[in-house]
Point group: C2
Chain length 268, copies 2
């Protein structure tokens, strides 16, 4: 059996009781380590589970799934993922690949940023399409997500912006070489995302999104060090919310009185 188990927001104790029981009985337990980041570190998990974890990085998940599925028809194999198992396309694909091989699959759901973003007090049912903000380079500055933020705003909806993560990205120079070299991991901050957004706003002065739009910056949601700040987009640039992961919300134009009251706690 192949188990795909959500770890939730990243503290070892955020796992469900169901998930923990499965891990304890599994023959091999992989930790998916490239679509998100585990704030607590692998050792803390291993200690809590009393079990050795095998790191499954990008190369393993995308090119070497047969390693993960080896003897999964006879043994119990788990892959642990931060958040909910369906938070990344990669995992949906893995489930299909397992089923193709005749391997039974069980999913254990958990919290993800998609519902935990409610911690800022914005109503989950007033969010439109979620967008991802990618790191820009000098030559590659995509901004198609901006249209989605505008469309959400026009419909009176908030936008959750997921911020880019670069883990085990091969360097440009090593792409053509036999031995790949990797860039250091980086995680986009609320400040960095807001800087990129401000640049797009400047190039698009005629949309409903301006530097004065009310935004919410969220860091390390669900942890003891969770931080939430509320202010204009231009204010977001100035604040350092510390360690990853960060998320940014662009609020819709008309807040519910309860949303206003809740956000008040986090005003900068």
């Amino acid at each position: 059996m192949f188990f795909l188990i959500g770890l939730g927001l990243g503290d070892p104790k955020d796992i469900t009781v169901k998930g923990l029981e499965i891990i304890k009985k599994c023959n091999r337990v992989y930790l998916e380590s490239y679509t998100s980041i585990l704030p607590c570190g692998t050792e803390a998990l291993e200690e809590f589970y009393g079990k050795k974890l095998i790191i499954a990085d990008r190369d393993v998940i995308e090119q070497d799934v047969d390693e993960i599925f080896y003897e999964a028809d006879k043994l119990d194999i788990a892959l642990l993922v931060v958040g909910d198992p369906f938070g990344a396309t990669t995992h949906t694909d893995l489930i299909l690949r397992a089923k193709e091989r005749g391997i039974k699959v069980q999913i254990v759901h958990n919290a993800s940023i998609l519902n935990a973003v409610g911690c800022c007090g914005l109503q989950l049912y007033s969010f439109g399409e979620t967008v991802s903000i990618p790191y820009w380079t000098d030559t590659w500055q995509p901004d198609s997500f901006f249209d989605k933020i505008v469309a959400n705003h026009q419909r009176g909806l908030h936008t959750l912006c997921l911020l880019d993560i670069k883990v085990k990205e091969p360097t440009l120079e090593s792409l053509t070489k036999k031995k790949k070299e990797y860039m250091p991991a980086k995680f986009m901050s609320v400040s960095e995302a807001s800087q990129q957004l401000l640049q797009i706003v400047e190039r698009n002065p005629d949309t409903c999104i301006t530097k004065n739009c009310l935004c919410v910056g969220i860091a390390r949601v669900g942890s003891d060090t969770q931080q939430i700040i509320v202010g204009s987009l231009s204010k977001m640039v100035e604040y350092d919310l510390g360690k990853p992961l960060h998320s940014l919300v662009i609020t819709g134009p008309n807040l519910h009185p309860l949303e206003v009251e809740y956000l008040e706690q986090f005003k900068i």
Copy 2:
């Protein structure tokens, strides 16, 4: 301290380890029983926690919060809610009421239908605004949610439809009486929701939503008896997905190849 703890999808073991540890040390533990339903029953939870639960129904949550908060400055009080704590406005309001009283609050997140809907293979980032479909009566047939489904579809997005729940609703006759009488609890099925939607579709023949739109019916997500069916809106009417809770997804017009491949498993 006041703890608001998400129970996830409803099996006793869907609680997180963090949540379970808190429950075990609490002086009083309430179970919120009107914004959702606990599929496993209260007794199963009590047995698993080794703790008596106090049912907090609509009257308590909306009118009698001081009972819940009694001595919360000195004791540890928990309120358990199905799904994630921020799934209902009521809970956000409760947190504000606690803070007004100087009571410290801690949240324990968990999975909710908003992310667990990914189990059908539709990409979570391709969902637009979530809508709620209310039970119609002979004289009250609101359909404003339909415009939102149309708007999502026009933008190429899926719509998650949350289906109505009626728990401890006073009967019309007893509203003016001193002693309230309540209607039996009811939970909208995928079939009932689809019937109402079909009626709206017939009245609005010029939108992009037709009886042939591809839909996904989901029942008891995350449980051992989870069921998923995929078919046209008119087909959804014919199938009985059994016990609650049900949810319905109206898919967007252009599915990703991976979504098509995943949905294939559940075609009726």
